[in-house]
């Protein structure tokens, strides 16, 4: 057997993943393509949480605000600077990363609930802040239009397939970059800080600076996810980034298993599939109007709690422990 370095293995895996998605994209209907794009987008956003929490030990409750920063940056690049959508997504990533860097310097010394509180306050301020700048379009927001798929793909190439391609490609590239970062020296130092900040500091690491760096990278990932999200809903407005989005991402991170980026696709799948399943279940059960309106929320919350109770370290660990014990 060929001997491959871990980094080459990773690259090969991502290329294979890309091929698989390309093939899948051809074989599924428009609805699945659309949902698949959401899965990819959520996977990236969940990845940003995992990088921050699982790898560097920080907690953010306001990642929706960082997604919004990327989304607005991307939308303005397309509308006002007339840049290509791909460049706009790159800009979304960098602007959000820069924003995270600045915010990170402000809150670098914070940890645990203090950082959580600050990011939460940022997220609830977002609609007001966005409404202050006319260029952001107020509540109505700004259009984010990646345009029609290129004509050379043929007439049957739908908008949704185009979304699917862009989302999957962007997410794969970003996750490949991040997976290289976390297996590098930086990744190891992030984990060292997570496991024992004092020890890391004693061994000469500049923990403050490294935490800011992790926060900034995580913001960049969130920014790209934000850009993709508003591409999928064709426009950005403050209400597209509610607190509940931040919370869903945390949920996704727990479901994925917060210690590893490998299951993010699963987390994304869960975030898209659970509400769908709850909806269709309710349609089947039927009942009074108040009942059917409230039931999906109940089911989603209940599943969430079950996930935390039974698989707090992600499904991989859960399966593993089954094997071990039974």
């Amino acid at each position: 057997m060929l001997t491959l370095t871990p980094s080459k293995k990773r690259t090969l895996f991502f290329v294979a993943m890309g091929w698989a998605l390309l093939l899948i994209g051809d074989r599924i209907g428009e609805l699945r393509q659309y949902q698949g794009s959401f899965v990819a987008m959520y996977a990236l956003a969940i990845g940003s949480i995992i990088l921050l929490t699982g790898y560097s030990g920080q907690l953010s409750l306001g990642h929706s605000a960082l997604m919004a920063v990327g989304a607005y940056a991307g939308a303005l690049s397309i509308n006002n600077l007339h840049l290509h959508p791909v460049i706009a997504l790159v800009i979304a990533t960098f602007v959000a990363g820069l924003f995270g860097l600045l915010l990170g310097f402000g809150v670098a010394r914070l940890s645990g609930p203090y950082l959580a509180g600050t990011t939460l306050a940022l997220a609830v301020s977002l609609p007001t802040l966005a409404n202050q700048f006319p260029i952001l379009g107020g509540e109505q927001g700004v259009v984010f239009d990646v345009g029609l798929p290129p004509a050379r793909f043929g007439e049957n190439f739908s908008q949704y397939k185009w979304f699917f391609w862009i989302s999957c490609l962007a997410v794969l590239v970003m996750l490949w970059l991040i997976s290289n970062v976390v297996s590098s020296r930086y990744g190891r130092t992030f984990r060292a800080i997570r496991d024992n900040e004092t020890a890391a500091a004693l061994s000469g690491l500049n923990t403050g600076r490294l935490k800011v760096l992790a926060f900034s990278i995580s913001s960049g990932m969130a920014g790209l996810a934000g850009g993709l999200l508003v591409m999928l809903i064709s426009g950005v407005s403050p209400s597209a980034f509610p607190l509940s989005l931040s919370f869903s991402l945390l949920t996704g991170a727990v479901v994925t298993g917060v210690y590893s980026l490998k299951g993010v696709m699963l987390g994304g799948l869960v975030l898209v599939a659970i509400p769908e399943i709850a909806d269709s279940l309710v349609t089947r059960i039927g009942g009074s109007e108040g009942f059917t309106a409230t039931l999906p929320g109940f089911l989603v919350s209940a599943l969430l709690i079950l996930a935390v109770i039974f698989a707090p370290n992600g499904p991989g660990k859960l399966l593993h422990s089954f094997k071990k014990h039974g």
């Binding site: 698989a20 064709s234 989005l245």
Partner: protein
């Protein structure tokens, strides 16, 4: 060893992903005209059923369903029964986009009806490709004037008059009836307030004090601080409340607490002036007495009105336990417009035919509103006017000054003109027979 566990875990994850991909591969069948059989017409609505917005608008789908059930019980539309698929978007743009896409691609609805909200539906319209798929998007419930744009929203028909129209008409009313009085505007700091502010500017009403508050801001203490601040304005200032009903109620209650209810002339916008809700929220009848409000519907309490009378009957039978108010009236009215549109499109129903039918005949449809519908081949805008009324202590809205005067205008700089519109009478028993 560690490596090994990771690999195992990794293979588990990939297996799950692959499984997910397999689940994804079912293709929905595409019919020539989706959502249509010889027995059924499937319509879809994306609207908040839970969350804060549902507190005010959650009644819309129920009211529409009730009217459709009533029509179905009376033979349906040319023998076809109407089925309304309701999806909850919680008033969030992302959910509106995915739920509307679900309605079109998964539920395969023939047309969309009564979508709620601007930020939500503008996203949903593009995300669900309603324009390219030519899905009729009927009677959108928002006062945002942008949905009248035919190039961007070719299949959309708006129904409510825009916030800008309302603001212009209130501006003229204030200048005519209360010349020389200072005007204060209290509006929610979102599209609602912004459209309104622009409308007041277009109506060249000079505003002495402008308060734009974020959603979730207003409470009892802050409302009192606001009213105390406004009371420093000399004379009897006109206070225009352009927000949701719960905030209107908080401000009224604050004025009660400060004994300042009669210091101002109150004008409540059409969204935040529902008297039933105000009274239910504990506002005193004496406070409501004399409040000026803009409306385009008849008063929902006025059971001598033929539309209100029939709708109240239908509501009692098909929507049990839900009290009849302005929101139910609005829902039933949209449902009746939908039925008339489907009838007008004929027995050989198509999506294109439905749009054409509304363009051709929509302006003659029976509707509860006292202002005309403006559908034509060049306009997809519904109601375009208001009448100014005054609430009494029972919460009934009576024409201001005793005589009903209806005016119409547009969302931009057009003039405000008195309307001679004569409302078509309610079809017998509330069942449209148009064709």
């Amino acid at each position: 060893m560690i490596r090994n566990t990771r690999m195992k875990r990794f293979s588990v994850v990939s297996a799950v992903v692959a499984l997910g991909a397999m689940v994804f591969t079912a293709l929905p069948a595409q019919a020539a005209e989706p959502g249509l059989t010889s027995k059924e017409i499937k319509l879809g609505i994306s609207t908040p059923l839970t969350g804060t917005a549902a507190l005010s608008y959650g009644k819309v789908p129920g009211a529409m369903k009730a009217y459709f059930d009533f029509i179905n019980a009376n033979g349906g539309v040319y023998g076809r029964k109407i089925k309304l698929v309701v999806r909850d978007d919680k008033y969030l743009p992302t959910l509106a986009a995915t739920q509307t896409t679900n309605l079109v691609l998964k539920d395969g609805v023939f047309a969309l009806v009564a979508a709620l909200g601007t930020a939500t539906h503008s996203k949903a319209y593009a995300a669900a490709s309603l324009a390219t798929k030519k899905v009729p998007d009927l009677f959108v419930n928002t006062g945002f004037s942008g949905f009248g744009n035919r190039t961007k929203y070719p299949t959309t028909f708006t129904v409510l008059p825009s916030y800008a129209m309302e603001a212009k008409i209130i501006s003229k009313f204030v200048k005519d009836k209360f010349p020389g009085q200072a005007v204060a505007l209290v509006a929610q700091d979102d599209e609602f307030g912004v459209d309104g502010v622009n409308g007041f500017a277009a109506g060249s009403l000079s505003i002495a004090s402008k308060t734009l508050y974020p959603q979730g801001y207003m409470n009892d203490a802050r409302a009192k601080a606001l009213v105390t601040g406004l009371s420093a304005i000399p004379g009897k200032p006109v206070v225009i409340l352009f927000g949701t009903t719960d905030v209107t109620a908080l401000i009224f209650k604050a004025a009660e607490s400060l004994s300042l209810t009669s210091k101002f002339t109150w004008i409540a916008g059409s969204v935040g002036g529902d008297s039933n809700t105000l009274l239910a929220l504990g506002v005193k009848p004496t406070t409501i007495d004399g409040v000026v409000a803009a409306s385009f519907f008849p008063d929902a309490k006025n059971t001598t009105d033929q539309y209100v009378k029939e709708f109240t009957k239908i509501n009692a039978k098909y929507n049990p336990g839900v009290s009849f108010d302005n929101i139910v009236l609005q829902g039933m009215n949209s449902a009746m417009l939908t039925v008339q549109s489907l009838r007008a499109a004929g027995k050989n129903l198509t999506r294109a035919g439905l749009i054409k039918a509304i363009e051709d005949k929509g302006s003659t449809f029976a509707s509860a509103a006292l202002v005309p519908l403006n559908y034509s081949a060049t306009s997809h805008i519904g109601y375009n006017g208001y009448w100014m009324g005054q609430l009494n202590a029972k919460g009934e809205l009576k024409p201001y000054g005793g005589t009903l005067s209806i005016v119409t205008t547009d969302s931009t700089t057009g003039p405000i003109t008195p309307s001679t519109f004569k409302r078509p009478s309610m079809p017998k028993n509330g069942i449209p027979t148009n064709s």
